[in-house]
């Protein structure tokens, strides 16, 4: 990571710590924000968060790797998560999965070479009555069909960045 990027990251995390307080319970909200804006939580970010919260970086790593939405691995701007639980499966999840793989050109667990999309599975998202359901970042799509997959992908490609909406609303409370 470039020194300037590192400085930016440190400034961002410092601002978050100022806002949320230096206590341990700030760790998850901080990681959520870092993950959302930087699409991953790399070693530098973990070290910076650890320094500012006065905990060991291993603690940060252990928390980040525990939660599905905090996965430290670099992911695309648009993280597409398809629910794989039984109700969505009964509703036709497999066809949607194939359409997603085809449309985005990546398999589940992969990120596109241009860094735009990541594709992953999600556990039950509570949309069982209107499956198949998927999440694109925070946004929920229900009753998805192979046709709507193409629309969703086009919508994302047309958007400037996956997180414009969140930044506008203020990702943190």
């Amino acid at each position: 990571m470039l020194v300037t990027q590192q400085e930016q990251l440190r400034a961002d995390v410092t601002a978050l710590v100022d806002k949320l307080g230096p206590g341990r319970s700030s760790l998850i909200p901080i990681l959520q924000s870092v993950k959302s804006h930087y699409h991953g939580v790399d070693a530098d970010a973990m070290q910076i968060v650890a320094d500012l919260l006065d905990i060991h970086p291993v603690e940060v790593y252990s928390v980040a790797t525990f939660y599905a939405f905090l996965d430290p691995a670099p992911q695309g701007e648009f993280v597409v998560r398809l629910c794989r639980t039984i109700s969505c499966e009964l509703a036709g999840k497999d066809a949607v999965a194939r359409a997603l793989e085809g449309e985005l050109g990546i398999g589940f667990g992969e990120t596109s070479a241009d860094g735009r999309f990541s594709l992953d599975w999600a556990a039950c998202m509570g949309m069982c009555d209107q499956g198949p359901a998927l999440l694109v970042n925070d946004k929920v799509y229900t009753r998805v069909t192979p046709d709507t997959v193409r629309e969703i992908a086009a919508e994302c490609r047309a958007a400037k960045s996956g997180h414009t909406a969140e930044r506008k609303e203020g990702y943190l409370v």
Binding site: S25, S87, D94, A123, C124, M125, C128, D129, Q130
Partner: protein, 403 residues
């Protein structure tokens, strides 16, 4: 984003939660707890612990700081009623939290909202803001001098296990969501080791209803041992999936008729950690004394392969086990392997018997509900559909869909 849930008319829509809050604030703390105890309400999350008892334990603890946590980490597969409650009746939930706060002496309430429901956060914060402006949160709630109570919304990060109350507390504190040893129970030492009540979203909304309409009204629904009405999340092979309200004690067959799923071969009640009820048991009741449930009902039509269902649940548990307890961490993997072997036709009846014994080990030797219940669905599917499963043609490994 079009998230419209159908179902039948919900009682929640007819209740003024703030009338309930005002009625509760007119009572002494002990009377609030007694009212909830008298109502016989049991926790709506699925475990069915008596709510009044929980509030009483926490209320009788000494401590400057106490917490009310609303468990909105609705992760159980097939459950989505809390999503609907939070979307449409958030006021009722927050009124219930304030009542609980008054009862136990807490000043702070936390809604632990699952990461998948991030889109609901701004809505909940708006409702909280409005309630603060109306004097229903903040300083001197409802005009009661000295009763300060406020609510914040915390966001989960995609972990099913955080629906377990002690794992939820660990997560709120900024740790991995690994369940704690009990005792001490959260009512004694919960969030930040202060006495804490963790209640399901629906439990809190129902508490507000009890105060708005009275104990007798509440007890007029349901059975003697399972009082009140319950929201059911119904999905799968039925004509009208959605959120339905029924009194406790409703028969499975009656429920299926209501949602257009009469031809079901089996229903999974209570989500992935619940139990599979085959057609010949559809006369059973949904109530804590017969089939306990958090309200999840997944309907499986006659064409469904129940082994696929078991495999799907086990994949879920292998993924979601926090890994602390060996029987759960490894047991679920063994169970999933066995489901694959059954598909390939390489699983002996003797091995199935060994799996039963493993399931028993997981039940007694896992710390939390996940490991204690994760093999239930597979075991009940094997029990009821064993012949169908053991006699199915072998399926090559490559033919299985990978998910």
């Amino acid at each position: 984003m079009s998230i419209e849930t159908q179902g039948n008319a919900l009682t929640f829509a007819t209740i003024d939660g703030d009338a309930g809050l005002r009625a509760a604030l007119a009572l002494s703390r002990a009377d609030i707890i007694d009212t909830v105890t008298d109502s016989g309400m049991k926790g709506r999350g699925g475990a069915g612990f008596p709510t009044g008892m929980k509030w009483n334990f926490c209320g009788s603890e000494k401590g400057e700081r106490k917490y009310i946590i609303c468990n909105a980490d609705e992760g159980e597969p097939g459950t989505f009623k809390d999503r609907v409650i939070l979307t449409e009746f958030a006021d009722l939930v927050f009124a219930g939290m304030a009542i609980a706060g008054r009862a136990i002496g807490a000043r702070e309430g936390i809604v632990y909202l699952r990461g998948e429901y991030t889109y609901l956060r701004s809505h909940l914060n708006d409702v909280i803001k409005k309630r603060r402006a109306a004097g229903l949160l903040g300083k001197d709630v409802g005009g009661v001098k000295g009763f300060d109570f406020d609510i914040i919304v915390a966001l989960g990060a995609g972990a099913y296990i955080c629906g377990e109350e002690t794992a939820l507390i660990e997560s709120l504190e900024g740790f991995r969501g690994e369940p704690r040893n009990r005792p001490p129970f959260p009512v004694v030492a919960g969030y930040r080791y202060a006495p804490t009540v963790v209640n399901n979203v629906e439990t809190l909304a129902s508490a507000a209803c009890i105060f708005a309409k009275g104990v007798d009204w509440f007890k007029s629904f349901g059975t003697d041992r399972s009082t009140g009405f319950k929201l059911f999340s119904i999905s799968g092979d039925c004509a009208k999936p959605g959120v339905y309200e029924f009194p406790f004690g409703i028969k499975v067959a009656d429920l299926l008729k209501e949602v257009g799923g009469e031809d079901a071969k089996a229903v999974q009640i209570g989500g992935a950690s619940g139990t599979c009820v085959p057609r010949d048991q559809f006369a059973r009741q949904m109530a804590f004394e017969d089939i306990p449930t958090g309200g999840s009902v997944m309907v499986f039509g006659p064409q469904r392969d129940m082994l696929d269902v078991a495999e799907n649940f086990l994949e879920f548990f292998v993924d979601e086990s926090c890994g602390q307890c060996t029987p759960c961490r490894l047991g679920n993997v063994k169970m999933l392997e066995a489901a694959h072997q059954l598909k390939e036709g390489t699983c002996s009846a003797e091995y199935v018997a060994q799996l039963r014994s493993l399931s028993g080990t997981m039940q007694v030797a896992s710390k939390c509900g996940l490991g204690q219940t994760s093999s239930n669905a597979f075991m009940s599917i094997l029990e009821h559909f064993g012949d169908e499963i053991m006699s199915r043609p072998a399926q090559a490994e490559s033919a299985r869909t990978t998910a």
